[in-house]
């Protein structure tokens, strides 16, 4: 049969339309129903961890759960933005790890109350990381592992320059200057000069907080401007490494000898040890002022359940099984692939890897000097603060004036979230 051009176009147009309709109507994501074995299908999201083996491990845990078919999604890229957007739709995850949840996510009813999952185990979770996941007495995510950030320093470089490991902010500024040469910078605080990664840590080191326990601005104090103003000195004296190919979270700049000191995560410790052996030490961010104290930030990804999940009960059961009951998996996840502190105190204290050397010191810093970002520190406050810090460090802006503006913004944010109670 011969086919005219018109007939051919008509047929192909019809086929395309039929195909589009068929795929639209028949698309099955497996989200609404059960799988072939009659089990509910739940989707679990993780952000992409850098450590090899982690993805296979979490898939193994998911396969071992026998009350649901858990499908793990390993998501690279801007994970926080992806989950925030997905939670607005029905196609989001049932269970997901979250660096929060944020107060707006809790107040917006996007996550499920998980208080009843902890029951008697609650006291075994590190209170420093459980607190930011608790709002109005309810727990909104189960902490998975604890992470912290530390000041790594190269012993040999400090010895050669006759510099002691810095215990005060002034000593850190002085050391960074002395350690700076034509090819090596004294300190790496990230390619932006520090505002992004340091956050509230310098304020904690000055004896202040971002938001007080009774919900007020915690840095409306002259000490805040004094401390943040000192960070400008590091930049102005050209002691900071800027523009490294990889940022603060990767220890490459430190291990490649581009910097003598670097602020990075606990997760970088095995890599640093492998590259430098014992030629390094770790310190908390050094104290500043008479009321100051050393400080390290602590944070924890937590497992949360989406309020839009169609299988909330089984999703909660899965979270309880994995992050409360299966302590063997928790220990495996924290210590076998990367390097994190288990969120359970009992696991953290018995882990041999966390008892000695730099790791042992890091655990002690978390216990003695750890500060978690308060739940009331909203994204808008954080952006205003980081912008101000950037202008102080790089632009030499007046710290007093900049901080006054951040205090105003933070007060407005605290009023806004209080209104929603």
């Amino acid at each position: 049969m011969s086919m005219s051009r018109r007939r051919l176009l008509g047929a192909s147009g019809g086929l395309a339309l039929t195909g589009a309709l068929a795929s639209a109507c028949g698309s099955n994501t497996g989200r609404d129903g059960d799988d072939h074995a009659g089990q509910p299908v739940i989707e679990q999201w993780y952000h992409q961890y850098g450590e090899p083996g982690t993805e296979q491990a979490v898939r193994r845990y998911a396969d071992a759960f026998d009350r649901a078919n858990v499908q793990v999604q390993w998501r690279p890229g801007a994970y926080d933005q992806q989950t925030s957007a997905a939670l607005l739709t029905k196609s989001g995850p049932d269970v997901f790890e979250v660096n929060g949840p944020t107060l707006d996510q809790i107040q917006g009813g996007q996550v499920v109350d998980l208080t009843d999952l902890l029951s008697e185990a609650k006291d075994d979770f590190n209170p420093a990381v459980l607190a930011p996941k608790t709002y109005q007495g309810k727990i909104w995510a189960i902490p998975q592992v604890i992470d912290t950030q530390l000041l790594y320093y190269r012993r040999s470089m400090l010895d050669d320059a006759g510099v002691e490991p810095p215990r005060t902010l002034d000593a850190l500024i002085d050391a960074a200057k002395k350690l700076t040469t034509r090819d090596v910078k004294g300190l790496f605080l990230g390619n932006d000069g520090g505002p992004g990664v340091l956050g509230g840590t310098p304020l904690n080191a000055a004896g202040l907080t971002l938001v007080t326990e009774d919900g007020k601005v915690g840095f409306d104090d002259p000490a805040a401007a004094r401390t943040l103003g000192k960070l400008r000195q590091l930049y102005a004296e050209k002691s900071l490494l800027l523009g490294a190919p990889s940022d603060w979270s990767d220890p490459a700049a430190f291990t490649q000898g581009l910097t003598a000191m670097q602020w990075s995560g606990l997760w970088a410790l095995p890599q640093v040890k492998k590259a430098l052996g014992d030629d390094f030490g770790v310190l908390p961010f050094p104290r500043d002022g008479a009321h100051g104290a050393p400080a390290v930030p602590v944070g924890a990804y937590g497992a949360a359940v989406s309020a839009r999940s169609r299988h909330k009960a089984v999703a909660k059961a899965y979270v309880k099984w994995l992050w409360v009951e299966r302590t063997d998996y928790q220990e495996d996840f924290a210590l076998r692939y990367g390097f994190h502190i288990p969120a359970r105190i009992s696991l953290a204290t018995k882990a041999a890897k966390l008892r000695q050397g730099a790791a042992g010191e890091a655990v002690r810093y978390v216990t003695d000097h750890g500060h978690a970002e308060p739940l009331l520190w909203t994204s808008a406050s954080r952006t205003a603060y980081q912008d101000a810090l950037s202008r102080i460090i790089k632009g030499g802006a007046d710290p007093d004036g900049e901080l006054r503006s951040v205090v105003r913004k933070t007060k407005a944010e605290l009023r806004r979230v209080r209104k929603k109670n």
Partner: protein
């Protein structure tokens, strides 16, 4: 055997008198897609801009113009508009001059014209993200083995942290050069098309009148004849500059955010509406304001340049 109904349907579908039906069969799916994925979200965004929409796209708390006043009173947003103006001031003339120069050069080539046209056009096919990462990580990184710093080192100059230094603001050099590399080839092709439309008789007449080849001919013949192309190029450049996102985001952001300098409006709105803040009401108000600004600037610019006016 065909029944009367089938015959009638066939006649209606295949007959030359039913061009409208076929038009809609082929265009309809795209109109449907455009409506579903562009116009409905646009209308929804305008709707959201009048509500307190934190972490929701179905808000209930009507706030009137509060989001608009908040956005217009926000230093970070107004600062982002200033960033756009600075970026436009750099990129529009730079791209215009470079692409016109390339077009003139390629147009005069007696041999290998197609080769050079392809070479200059090729970067257009490169992704903004990829180009931005190459610029950031290998050419303009701030350490001693970055390409730009290696060249500086040959002359004994100090290393420069290209993207992290605000005084002087070297980051503009990185941002402008990456976009220039990516888009100059595209505008070169537009100018080439414009150049090839100019009648050779005009050049012959100019030669007869004694015009010197080179600058005089360019000024009095070529440039005025390229007026329509120039207007279109400048309009496209300004609109593209307003929509700048990819290279800024990939050059300057990190996992913890974005520095307050060189933050164009779309990057700011991305962080407001789609970042962890998820303030979709405020972000929508900003998007509406930005859309209005682009529309007004485009219309004013088009009228100023006389876009669509008949050639004299």
């Amino acid at each position: 055997m065909r029944g009367p109904l089938t015959t009638e349907l066939t006649r209606r579908l295949l007959g030359p008198q039913n061009r409208h039906l076929w038009f809609w069969i082929f265009v309809g799916p795209f109109v449907l897609g455009l409506t579903l994925f562009t116009y409905v979200p646009l209308a929804w965004s305008v709707y959201l801009s009048f509500f307190d929409a934190h972490n929701t796209v179905s808000p209930t708390d009507f706030v009137g113009l509060d989001n608009y006043t908040a956005m217009l009173g926000d230093d970070a947003f107004t600062g982002s508009l200033v960033t756009f103006l600075v970026f436009t001031a750099f990129i529009v003339p730079a791209t215009y001059v470079l692409s016109l120069a390339l077009a003139l050069m390629v147009n005069r080539l007696r041999w290998a014209q197609a080769f050079f046209r392809s070479v200059f056009f090729l970067p257009v096919a490169c992704s903004y993200v990829v180009a931005a990462l190459i610029w950031k990580m290998s050419i303009f990184n701030g350490v001693r083995f970055g390409l730009a710093n290696t060249v500086l080192d040959w002359f004994g100059a100090d290393q420069i942290a290209w993207l992290s230094t605000t005084d002087p603001p070297w980051y503009w050099l990185v941002i402008v050069t990456v976009r220039l590399w990516l888009q100059a080839g595209f505008y070169m092709v537009l100018f080439l098309a414009g150049l090839q439309r100019i009648s050779p008789r005009l050049y012959e007449a100019a030669a007869v009148d004694g015009a010197r080849p080179g600058w005089q001919v360019f000024r009095h013949i070529t440039f005025p004849q390229l007026r329509a192309t120039s207007v279109a190029v400048v309009l496209l450049l300004v609109i593209n500059a307003f929509q700048a996102f990819d290279e800024f985001y990939n050059l300057l952001s990190d996992s913890r955010g974005y520095p307050p300098y060189a933050r164009p409006p779309l990057v700011y709105l991305y962080y407001t509406a789609l970042g962890q803040g998820q303030n979709l009401g405020l972000g929508s108000a900003g998007a509406v304001i930005l859309a209005l600004i682009i529309a007004v600037v485009t219309v004013v610019q088009a009228r100023w340049f006389g876009l669509g006016r008949k050639e004299d």
